[in-house]
Symmetry: C2
Subunit: 205 residues, 2 copies
């Protein structure tokens, strides 16, 4: 699909058709396309939990202001942002060295990522969440490209979801992402207000 | 352009042609298209500083491991993530009420965003950075859609950039984003290693 069409079509959909599935092949294609997103030092500090089971989705719905779309969407992704993705021993960081980085880069690499992201909780949190934001946006566009719809949600009980789904402390949960088909005959409201260019640009130098 | 082509074409380019400009119209189109990205409660907690001036870019380059692409790219964006974008009185939040939200939603809205994002530094930092990640990813795709190239950078002295460009404490600086044209005859290496679907999915339920 043309990117301009995706920009117009992509909306946060509130009403999913529970009768229409997202196939395993579709989900893999979306995730693998989205994973082409860039990340800090290619560290890809993102993981997913994939929910399809009705009782698991119902459990998540209760922790998300009881919004029915969590159950109605055939797939709900719990997005995870790895706050330790810059650390020596982290499995994704180490996989970079097994797959494409050279061993002689290692000392420089680990001292640089530790200095940039390991100096404070604020730095680790920013690192994990901005990168998972790049990935999440790519998932939404990649789903639109297949004619599917999404809804990013962050109205949920963060620590409740952590507990219910056994999510280790190293991950922040930036959002839940519903993926599915729009319910037929649902009218979509016009896109909400957006900042103008002038409102977004604080300064031009 | 087809989204699949953008997915393949979009690469973090190290060598920009300083002789080829990004016009004001192109930049506006990119930013306005990217601003269609979703955000938490439509709060759009993102701002930009746009650099075109050679001496300003040189100043920024010194704070970014002296990487020449900062000067070579005709436009460099300093991306800003608003950690107070959920707070009553924040100009972008208030603009939502002037433009599309109803006054009777206000009390519920402000108490909800304060509870979700104002409870801890970790929550505010995640809020600002994940949303600015959604916007930044959209800028990169929107630039690709116009045949331009980008490079997201976060190897820079965060507090040094804050000081040099008078950036208020309420903003985190998740990345610098170079925008321009690829230098002719530069060979682009194959895309780096990416996690497989199985490596990304911690659990399927």
């Amino acid at each position: 699909m043309e990117f301009k069409e995706i920009l117009t079509n992509r909306r946060a959909i509130n009403f999913f058709d529970p009768a229409q599935n997202v196939t395993e092949d579709q989900l893999r294609e979306i995730i693998q396309n989205a994973a082409k997103a860039p990340s800090s030092f290619n560290l890809q500090p993102w993981k997913l939990i994939v929910l399809r089971d009705a009782s698991k989705k119902a459990e998540l719905q209760k922790l998300a202001f009881d919004q029915p779309k969590v159950s109605e969407a055939p797939v709900v992704l719990i997005m995870l942002a790895d706050r330790e993705g810059w650390k020596e021993g982290n499995t994704t960081l180490e996989a970079n060295f097994s797959n494409s980085m050279q061993p002689e880069q290692r000392d420089w690499f680990i001292s640089t990522t530790s200095a940039l992201y390991g100096g404070s909780e604020a730095a680790s949190q920013a690192f994990a969440n901005k990168n998972t934001g790049l990935f999440a946006m790519s998932i939404m566009y990649a789903a639109s490209d297949l004619g599917l719809h999404t809804h990013p949600m962050d109205g949920f009980d963060h620590e409740g979801v952590r507990k219910a789904f056994d999510i280790p402390e190293q991950y922040w949960i930036p959002m839940l992402l519903c993926v599915g088909h729009k319910k037929k005959d649902v009218k979509i409201h016009p896109k909400g207000w957006r900042q103008s260019y002038e409102e977004m640009v604080l300064n031009t130098l």
